[in-house]
């Protein structure tokens, strides 16, 4: 049945309760009314756990953003909630010193997320306020955002690890995965690719507390995908429904901002001037970023239509919506068939459900109507054509010309930079004269303030000048053509009945997804036509019989492909107290599926999530749990690599 591997892997909802209870405990540890001073970037993640009413219920009188400047606290208790960063310690010290000088008497409490650090304590000591602050940790780790998806909801992790060389996030990720193991037992096997993946695996093993000694029976392995092993995928335009919503509307902490008419029968709001966002510390936290738009939690839980749509190639979404509209219409008409009171009562009983479905249909029709014209513009189609040609290594020089045209037409700078990186990564670099011309065009069109971004992209080898110097400053890009061949990245598949993960980019399979398949679905990497596809090709109606998932045997069979991709290869068996584990895990019993956890270090895209959900449906006996440091797309990735204050226009 569909629910065999399609259903949720483990009940991860428990992590929400744990995180929520920890927050309540933290607030309750401070008696009486309190003023909460919150780091801005924590508001989104906390919003996934709790509502403002819960905070009020636990004594929060007023909330402020943690920003430099004076603090007007009306309560004796002040509670700071922030990540352990130097800049925040400086702001807090400054505020406490100012309040002390004003003879204000407050009790200061600082909760560091996810952990207190000695560095922060040292700074508070140096600033002379250490004695006045009660310091504790608020262990906010994985947040379940869907029933198969855990996210740490960290921003800019890729930049921190790979550009700044700040590996704190790897340490915190290890802690979060250890907490996860405390709930479900040790991962029997940790498999991964990339230098940062290796560091993470080592930390998971070495930081393991001695009392954590039982190997999990529910999980068969943890696969760590280090973002640096596949930089092309996030730079491409996502072509799934949820991916395009993220590209054009933007999904932040699972929330979208939409016209209120999408969510109710209300007429569209009249356009109002864009309000200037308040930056003063004295402004209350709870003001919507855009009052004319409404925030909506975009989730499949309770929205079965979104569940069906989110991972489809956008090309087939219109059809699916049409079918849903016809079905709903027929259901409503069902009331005419109701002859007896009992039948009528039955219909009325269904009505609430129908109204919910109607609401969902309105939302998704509106979103599709907003996105559809944006996928029809010349610019969108030109940029897709450039991407497809580059991925196929078709006339790379002509693609660079086309990118220059997009610059002349003032396409968004994020798009231009994404395409330029894809061009460099797929061609092994760009001839120095051509590259310098492109960079000049970018700086003159979008401003010289983008120069640091270009330098950052260069130091990450996302842009490489050819010919390479004898002693390259940065490693050359990995050999794309060879990787493409070994991992069969180009693969046509019907969009309405995909036979390969390549459906998310209309004919291109992400390297990251292929790496996962190298471990969990070896046959699918080698050939597009599996047993399931034979039936589909023969015109068989419905789903073909799914094959049983093969046991986890590491990277076996793909050693050559792995050598082409930079970074270390990880394959470690974790042993418990029961003695040696078998080197190759026994095949899962037919009646019980095992779960493979995939963790993206440095973020993943909605398309990559879609490919893993697709994999889950292909075989029996294996479920997937997806976990990530955060959800990214090409534009958020590029923006994270820009200096603070660089100008970016919205993409749509």
């Amino acid at each position: 049945s569909e629910s065999d591997s399609g259903g949720p892997a483990l009940n991860i909802g428990v992590f929400k309760e744990i995180a929520k209870r920890a927050l309540v405990d933290a607030l309750n540890s401070v008696n009486g009314a309190k003023t909460l001073v919150l780091e801005r970037s924590l508001a989104g993640p906390l919003g996934l756990l709790t509502e403002v009413s819960l905070l009020k219920h636990h004594g929060v009188d007023k909330m402020f953003w943690l920003e430099s400047g004076p603090l007007n606290a009306s309560t004796t208790n002040v509670v700071y909630l922030c990540r352990p960063q130097v800049k925040y310690m400086m702001i807090i010290s400054e505020q406490i010193k100012r309040l002390t000088a004003e003879h204000a008497t407050h009790t200061y409490n600082l909760f560091l997320v996810p952990r207190r650090t000695t560095l922060c304590e040292r700074i508070l000591k140096e600033e002379g306020v250490f004695g006045e602050v009660n310091i504790a940790s608020y262990k906010l780790e994985f947040i379940p955002v869907e029933d198969d998806l855990l996210s740490l909801e960290w921003e800019d992790t890729f930049r921190e690890i790979f550009l700044d060389g700040d590996e704190t996030a790897i340490y915190y990720a290890a802690q979060a995965l250890i907490t996860f193991q405390q709930a479900y037992g040790l991962f029997p096997r940790i498999i991964g690719k990339g230098d940062a993946a290796k560091k993470l695996a080592n930390l998971i093993i070495h930081l393991r507390p001695p009392r954590l000694a039982t190997v999990s029976v529910a999980l068969d392995s943890l696969i760590i995908i280090d973002r640096s092993t596949d930089m092309i995928t996030p730079l491409l335009t996502q072509l799934t429904y949820q991916g395009l919503i993220d590209e054009f509307i933007g999904i932040r902490n699972s929330h979208i901002e939409v016209d209120p008419s999408y969510l109710s029968n209300a007429p569209p709001a009249p356009p109002t001037g864009t309000p200037t966002p308040s930056t003063s510390t004295s402004a209350p936290v709870i003001t919507p970023a855009n009052p004319k738009k409404k925030k909506h939690l975009l989730t499949a839980s309770g929205d079965t239509l979104f569940n069906a749509l989110r991972d489809l190639n956008f090309a087939v979404v219109g059809n699916r919506l049409n079918r849903e509209a016809k079905r709903l219409d027929a259901e409503y008409k069902g009331r005419h068939q109701a002859q007896t009171v009992a039948q009528l009562r039955e219909f009325v009983g269904k009505l609430g459900g129908l109204q919910n479905e109607h609401q969902a249909l309105r939302l998704h029709t509106s979103l599709s109507e907003q996105i559809h014209p944006l996928t029809r513009t010349e610019q969108f189609n030109k940029s897709l054509e450039i991407q497809q040609n580059l991925l196929a290594s078709y006339e790379p020089a002509a693609q660079l010309n086309a990118i220059e045209d997009l610059i002349a037409q003032q396409a968004p700078v994020q798009l231009v930079l994404r395409l330029m990186c894809v061009a460099s990564l797929t061609s092994g670099g760009i001839k120095v004269k051509v590259l310098e011309n492109l960079k000049r065009e970018i700086l003159q069109t979008y401003g010289y303030s983008h120069l640091p971004t270009l330098l950052n992209l260069t130091s990450l080898s996302l842009i490489t000048a050819l010919p390479l110097p004898k002693i390259p400053l940065y490693p050359p890009p990995p050999p794309f053509a060879a990787i493409r061949k070994h991992l069969r990245l180009l693969s046509d598949t019907p969009e309405n009945a995909p036979t390969d993960v390549s459906f998310v980019y209309s004919g291109y399979a992400p390297i990251s997804s292929r790496l996962i398949q190298c471990v969990t679905q070896k046959g699918a990497v080698l050939a597009s036509v599996g047993p399931a596809d034979d039936a589909a090709a023969a015109g068989g109606a419905g789903r073909a019989e799914r094959t049983v998932a093969h046991p986890i045997s590491g990277w076996k069979g793909f050693e050559d492909a792995l050598k082409l991709i930079p970074g270390e290869t990880v394959d470690v068996i974790q042993k418990g107290d029961e003695g040696e584990s078998p080197l190759v895990a026994p095949p899962p019993p037919r009646d019980r599926a095992t779960t493979t956890m995939v963790f993206f270090l440095g973020g993943c895209t909605y398309t990559e999530i879609a490919t893993i959900r697709w994999m889950a449906k292909q075989t029996k006996g294996r479920r997937y749990l997806i976990a990530t440091t955060g959800i990214i797309n090409g534009s958020t990735l590029i923006e994270s690599l820009a200096p603070k204050g660089a100008k970016f226009e919205p993409v749509a």
Binding site: E404, D405, I407, A408, Q409, Q410, E436, K439, R440, E441, L443, Q444, T445, Y446, G447, Y448, L451, L455, L473
Partner: protein, 118 residues
């Protein structure tokens, strides 16, 4: 008050200029960064040019902070086509980008005569 406002704006530009000069010097000391050094020279020239444009408009128009393209566009919008052409020459703006910029600028102010002359 107006004077002090101008003063602070001037200071801002001076600060920008000195920051760019520092960067340009840093890049020029490194053979691998000759492109960046040239770009910073361009940025510096642009700021000086923009400052002059602002002075010429008696402080009525804003130019500082705009990109080369945006400055050209602002010149078209403010009826300074000659200045835009000067930017095209001095910054070696390719024809294609120049014409698109002019087209967008004239469209934005609905200058149909200008568009007719295209």
């Amino acid at each position: 008050a107006v004077l002090s406002l101008e003063d602070s704006e001037d200071k801002e530009v001076t600060e920008r200029i000195s920051a760019i000069k520092t960067a340009a010097k840093f890049f020029s000391e490194d053979a691998d960064h000759s492109f960046e050094a040239k770009a910073m020279d361009e940025a510096l020239r642009l700021l000086v040019f923009q400052q002059q444009l602002e002075k010429d408009s008696d402080g009525q128009k804003k130019y500082v902070g705009l990109s080369v393209n945006e400055t050209m566009a602002a010149c078209f919008v403010n009826g300074l086509a000659k200045k835009a052409d000067r930017i095209k020459a001095d910054w070696r703006v390719p024809d294609k980008r120049y014409w698109y910029t002019k087209l967008y600028a004239l469209t934005s102010i609905r200058d149909f005569d200008g568009l007719d002359a295209f």
